[in-house]
Symmetry: C2
Amino acid sequence: MTGLARTPNQIGNLIRRTRKKRGLSQSQVGARAGLRQETISLIETGNPAAKLETILAVLAALDLEFRIVPRTKGTAADLEDIF
Amino acid sequence: MTGLARTPNQIGNLIRRTRKKRGLSQSQVGARAGLRQETISLIETGNPAAKLETILAVLAALDLEFRIVPRTKGTAADLEDIF
DNA sequence: GCGCAATATAGCAAATGGCGCATAAATGGA
DNA sequence: TCCATTTATGCGCCATTTGCTATATTGCGC
């Protein structure tokens, strides 16, 4: 599960899909990340003003991380280039 | 220029290095991103409470983007920005 | 349908971001 | 070294986060 993260909504969707794939509830992710279930909910629905450290905590709780890369058109070829 | 972005400091360092590579000042990036020079400064020094939308605006101004990927083992290349 | 877990919403307090404006400090080129 | 540019810091201000405690509401299995 990897993907572009250009907007808060894209980030939230990816977090939600990954969380479900891991079989975790928002509360469980919140416990791992030191955040409340409500905060996870807000992030997954695309809160653009979420704090950076909050997003990073959620990603870590899901064994995910950001990678900063040159902007691409998001093709499969672009992904191969990086991994 | 691609790199791990696991902490606010890593993100700030990558932004700064990319900005210099592009030959831009903080003010110029701020203008492109709709932010003040002071805000760019804070982000580059690793402000952990920066807003997600602010970070995304800066990345866009530098033709960068986030990619969300599974957490990796942190190779030397990934951690280059600590040197 | 029922019922329980999961998710979304609400009000309040504390904390903090980013802006405007100003200015100090650091950096770099000639 | 000098000076212009760049970067960092400070303060007041308003908006918004997140935590807390509760509570709707939705969703899913049976």
